[in-house]
Amino acid sequence: MTSEPLLSVRDLRVEFSTSAGVVTAVDGASFDVRRGETVALLGESGSGKSVTAQAMLGIIPKPAGRVTGGSIEYDGRDLLALPATATRELRGREIAMVFQDPLSSLNPVFRVGAQIGEMFRKHRGASRKEARAEALELMRRVGIPAAEKRLDDYPHQFSGGMRQRVMIAMALALSPRLLIADEPTTALDVTVQAQIMDLLARLQDEEGMSLVLITHDLGVVADVADRVVLMYAGRVVEAGPIREVYEHSAHPYTAGLMGSLPAIDGPRERLTPIQGAPPDLLDLPSGCSFRPRCAFASERCADEEPVLLGAPGRPAPHSSACHHAGKVLTDAP
């Protein structure tokens, strides 16, 4: 793993116009994705994690959403400053994406072979026959049984897990250097989730690509991610190597999430949930957005928005956006 980042998001701001007013879905998020590494982008509803992914790919739904600030540097070029044709060229070729719901993400009226093959036809100018052969090869690689027969099937004829494999095959078609997977297993059953996570990890290993896993589930990424970036109300609240962050949480939100999870083993204890409800983006509190749900909140948290700083007393890449990070670290069990 080289330390040179492949993708570098700096102070990203994305706004959406809704019927109720303008919402800042991403509010100054910054993080890096290095070559060949797996980064988990973690957050609950309204954290802005999916919008961040859309911004990275340049597919923020227009005209409601727009990037209002910051930069997304990919391989030395700022994606936000490039002309639309240039970013379109990068999509699929360099940066690919897998979405949460494979049924709605595949076009219901085209055969899956054609949908995968379209990548080769449109980007590489391959013939119908070549594209078909490539699609078949990819379907085999992602573990779709009887791939020759299934090439001409439609998405509705596949099971949820197989559909997600088709999505992955499509994303991998042009060997991208960065794969973004937005909740790739949320719509799937546990046993199928295990298959898909296993497949993603294997493919990443083979391709040597960088992987951004967007999820709300702390457990799903623990085995595969190198680093984790936690988002809350459009901001990055904590980031660092995943084991370091999980075991030594330096932000009360991360600590709260860990305390909310029922364990699969050990003694059953009363859960220690986070108080209150996820943030209403239309009505965010002043200062730290997490303040109303936080046991550590002080006056300073209302006046001053905390910035992402190195977690006190922890090794370097671990950072937290909390005025009371030190106290959070010492108070944790």
């Binding site: 959406f16 116009s17 019927s19 509803s45 994690k49 999916s50 919008v51 909740e183």
Partner: protein, 298 residues
Amino acid sequence: MTSTDLDLTTTAVPRPATSTRGRAGSARIRFGLAVIIVYVVAAAIGPWLVRFDPVATRTQDRLKPPGSRLSDGSLAILGTDQVGQDLLAQMLQGARISIAVGLATLLLAGTIGVTVGLAAGYFGGWLDSVLMRLADIQLAFPSILLAIFIAALLGPSVVNVVIVLAVSNWVTFARVTRGQALTTRRREFVDASRTLGAGTWRLIRRCVLPACIAPVLVVATVEIGHVILAEASLSFLGLGTPASTPSWGVTIANGRNYLADAWWISTVPGIALAFLVVSLGVLGDALRDRYDPRLRSL
């Protein structure tokens, strides 16, 4: 779990920032309502102000252009027709007929349609199959042809027009109500009421029917324009209202024979008709955008 993330993007997209425009389509709703109120008021009190006598003929005042002075010294703002009738008076009378026919048809078609739709959508099974096949047959039969056929047999009269148009319009109400009843019946809150022990009647009254009101009102607004147009078409063909109660369609048909000498007889009522239908369309669209965007295909 990411639904809020997705909601944010999907619900936000169809419209631009509405913060400057208030709630969806309120300007259009105000416009539509205003025009319709003017028509209704004109239809209600107009015939009292400008007397209309269907059997009067004044040959000396035939085919006078708009703005003419008539033999009795009155001003014919919109001119006169082939028998010397004041066109404005005739049109005010026509407005009354069009609106009355429209409302009566809607009431009849709506009652039948909502009842059938509720029964089909809520109870489902063979009842749904039978009722909806019936609706399919009705739809597979061009409604204006059915109307022409029935009207031809029944002969021209206001009541017959209402019956004919109601027969050809109930299906829309039935389909929309059925669709809504079907989706509502499957919602978890209906299941919740059932687990509390609520009976069928209570479920329909408390859960299903209230959910149908908004879409039915939207459909009614859109449909009333269609009904008024259909009434005018039938009357134009001589199959609608009789000559003694001249609706706009009758007046336009009468003017056809005098196009060379008196263009106004056919054109002016047509403009009045089109403007009313446009306003109803604007209102219907705005209501649909606000209350039920799923009905766009109507």
